[in-house]
């Protein structure tokens, strides 16, 4: 069974997709993820998700999904000053 692995590298950051692996069940998937994706001190938290449970957008829908956002510059948070102490935004 295929699992997708998400790793949070440190507190305050989001889990980021790290890759995928095979495991017989969730507990083994979590341990395999620890061994395969955090052996160089990459993480403080791991999520594993059955790959079959992920609903993904289709490349065929790319135009209607994403192109309309391309020219909406007013949606970007670039029209005000960002305090210096705000990071990870």
């Amino acid at each position: 069974m295929l699992w997708e692995v998400f790793v949070r590298s440190r507190r305050g950051l989001s889990h980021v997709h790290a890759g995928s692996l095979h495991a017989s069940d969730a507990a083994m998937a979590l341990r395999n993820a620890r061994d395969v994706y955090t052996r160089r001190n990459e993480g403080v938290s791991i999520w594993v998700v059955p790959a079959a449970e992920i609903t993904a957008s289709s490349p065929d829908e790319k135009e209607q999904f994403f192109d309309p956002a391309g020219d909406k510059v007013y949606r970007h948070p670039t029209f005000y000053e960002l305090p210096a102490e705000v990071r990870h935004l």
């Binding site: 692996l21 095979h22 495991a23 507990a27 083994m28 341990r31 395999n32 061994d35 395969v36 052996r39």
Partner: protein, 246 residues
Amino acid sequence: MSLAGYVLGLADDALVLAQRTSEWTARAPTLEEDVALANIALDLLGQARYLLTYAGAEEGAGRDEDALAYRRPSSEFRNVHLVELPNGDFGRTIARLLVFSAYRYELLTRLADSADPTLAAVAAKGVKEVAYHRDHAAQWTVRLGAGTTESRRRMGAGLADVWPYTPELFTEESAALVAAGVAVDPVSLSEPWLAFVSGVLTSAGLVVPDVAAAPGGGRRGVHTDAMGPLLDELQSLHRAHPGAVW
């Protein structure tokens, strides 16, 4: 027994099992397990390096970790027989990892309170590693034991293969070092060890094997036939290129 001798036993258990476990590299049942076993081997090798260095310093004869790992004959190795046994199949490998890491977990947990600050520090670092090794072996034991007829048969056979070598883990060594609060009395580890292992076996639908104890003697430098070939491989590079470094 001297402190150096005691530390050498702790070091050699880790070194020899690191060597055995690394034999799985590129041959494990799955890619994920290949990495897991390599990680475990490297953890044990790391423990061995600290302990060999310390044993060499305590001995005071100018031997460093490389001299102790690569230039000792079998008769000077102080590891238990359990760690030198050939890997066998995956079931036996997991059975050995289960009984050894459960033993070492109990040992390092107590050694972290040693009156010897170096041993206490190495143990405190190592216990977190060994806790993971123990968990890894326990997870696999349950899955193999409660898996298919074949996996259950092999897990049971592996357990029966390694079980005779477990009494050696709990044989009294140095009363003086124990009394001084430096060493852990191995006899005291037997009960908590059996409680953990039998709990895992119950979850796996397996039972504690009813088999006679092997003679032991590893701590005295008496080893099984498997030890010679293991050392031949471990020491081959150093023999071909004395003093070689990375």
